[in-house]
Amino acid sequence: MNTSGTLLLAAVTLLAPRLAEACGCLALPSPATNVVQAGERILFHKDGDNVVAYIQVQYTGDADNFAWLVPLPSVPTLEIGTDELFDRLGTTTLPRYTLTTTRNFCNGGSSSTKSSGFGCSENASFSGGNFNPSSSSDMNAASADAGALVERSSVGPYDYAVLKADDQSEMLKWLNDNRFFVPAGTDAAIKPYIRPGAYFLAIKLKAGESTGDIVPVIVKYKSDLPMIPIILTQVGAVPNMGIQVYVLGKHRATPRNYHHTVLDDMTVWLTTDSYNGALIRAAKEAPKRHTFLTEYAGPSSLMRNVLVPAGRFGNLATLRAISSPSQYLAYLRNNTYRFDPTLLAILLRHLPMPDELVQKGVTPLQYYANYDSFQQQLSKDAGPPPQVTFDPIACTDEIDMRIVTPTKKTQALFDQHPFLTRLYTALSPEDMTDDPVFGENPDLPEVPLEHTATVTIPCRGQSFIRSDQGFESQYPNLTAKLPASARIEILRDAGPAEVVTDNRKDIGDALGPVNYGDSDDDKQQAPQPLKPQTETPACGCRMQDGSGDYASVFLMLGALVMVARPRRKRPSAVRR
């Protein structure tokens, strides 16, 4: 594997270790090949009678082995999206956990410190591959004798085919004949989707493309409600595969045929569970292990100007006129173009890296980010480099087509749809028995990103914590055996949540009685009686980029440090 590939795999693996295939099936070249998909995220929205799904496949493996099947109710239209959508969505809608530590001094004073939120790095270190510039769909109608084939075409780095799904054997034969490989087990898994009038979309990378060219696919098809064909996903899925779903609409999105779980935040504040571990545990506690957690539900304005802030991308006419590679790259940097795999692949094509640097292991990102330095180094080593032929018009046209226009179009989604819901679940193959469908409920409350708790360090005695879910406990309390779910409920298309399991009493029992310690102002500081906050849904806490596990530990350590700080001696004059 080359350096580029290695870097890409590393980046993908680090960024989305628990995101998973969630829509369709990654087809493998042979039954013996291991599953190598790293993850997938989906954004749904309605457009008239159509459902539009932005699907980000995260795949690690050889490009030749990449193929992907999606069952659809109608012939879809296909476009290419932008990786940046999910990266920005992931960071912007990430739940934020803030722990405030209040120290009550024995002289009557107090101080507070706050350790908040989880950082989240962006993926700036991808490296690109050999991207084919074709981003327009070459619509080749199927010939009359094509059997299952309805349409075969290409878009961006992909070849795709739309196949009739009314005859399973005919469809599978076509896939095999045309090197859209089908893994063992697919025969059984696709049965629910085989019917007259149904279709399959099969996608693979074009010959010569690399996995660095895998970009989100936008699939638009006629349907009432968004659905994830998870039954098909069980082919090759790994245990506890995470599924991240975003839904844009008028109201809060609900899992129609899956339960809904409100995470017990005390597992986040108190236990050594990783965030992901807590979520997986919560998912396992639901009936049939079918549940989604809402991590955010609120105004989509959260994403306004996030993808395209004012002035981003500069002026394309200006860019087209810059013939100096150095100045061209500087213009890209100054106008906040993102040096992601898509841009790097375009640059590699229009402004190739010198072989000498490739052989030395310099990555495309390093090269284009430090172009002037590398040019100076090359001149010093071997005299003036040969004149570089650079066509800024062709390069800019491709940047416009592949990056600027799709990004602006995606940004506009958040103006068109007022509400954004972020949902998460984890499923193992044996639990992928029902395709989750999503509805909307205007009667449900929003789910905020912010989660808070306060640790109080009394003048004398043990510290205690109170969470915004209304629970309290001595702190730390590593021995409590806590359920991961505060509540398991059913969300309908209308009306309030129907609670199926309420673990509040069990959680309270597990946390045990709280001794609030002793301080001069106990009266003021003592917590009020526990009041369940049933109208304020909690949400999961999970780092979308995989750093959540570390974040939780970090937060806990920070809090423990506060607890362990030596107490200030109380002046005898004020001792009671």
């Binding site: 008239g48 009432d224 045929n257 029902d434 395709d435 298309d493």
Partner: protein, 155 residues
């Protein structure tokens, strides 16, 4: 007892030049096949492994404009919501799949009278017309029956 057909009429708000003609919304089956209240209908295999009931609608008197078409399906026996969705329309009619299955948890639609309601509203949310019909969906008698009964019974 079930009454034959289907149309409910509401009248738009008036304007200074006199009231506009009433907007009437009528419902029918696929290809505008007439439907009657209480009629048995097939749960048609559809969206990505789901099942739905086809409904056609036509608004008489609808002038070219973007209106909101709200669609609901409720189980007659207990008024439980099976479907609630809405979208913009510009044409005065069309055929839509009413999404039934997978059904919401605990709600079966198989052999159950379901009340389908469609209503048109303007940009301010004022309802201009509505239509309703009660239909009784059944699973198909073919290879899809077992799968249909599994995902359409709220299990």
């Amino acid at each position: 007892m079930w009454r034959a057909l289907v149309a409910v009429t509401l009248i738009t708000a008036g304007c200074s030049s006199g009231p506009p003609p009433p907007l009437t919304l009528a419902l029918s089956g696929l290809d505008s096949t007439p439907l009657s209240d209480g009629q048995d209908v097939l749960l048609e295999p559809g969206a990505q492994g789901g099942f739905h009931v086809w409904l056609s609608w036509r608004a008489e008197g609808m002038e070219p404009a973007e209106l909101q078409l709200e669609r609901t399906a409720r189980r007659l026996s207990d008024d439980k919501v099976v479907l609630r969705t809405s979208g913009a329309v510009r044409e005065p009619g069309g055929t839509l799949p009413m999404f039934m299955c997978p059904t919401p948890i605990g709600i079966s639609v198989v052999d159950q009278p379901i009340v389908f309601r469609l209503s048109l509203a303007d940009a301010s949310g004022a309802r201009l017309a509505a239509g309703a019909i009660t239909l009784v969906p059944h699973c198909p008698d073919d290879g899809q029956r077992e799968f249909c009964e599994r995902i359409c019974t709220g299990g």
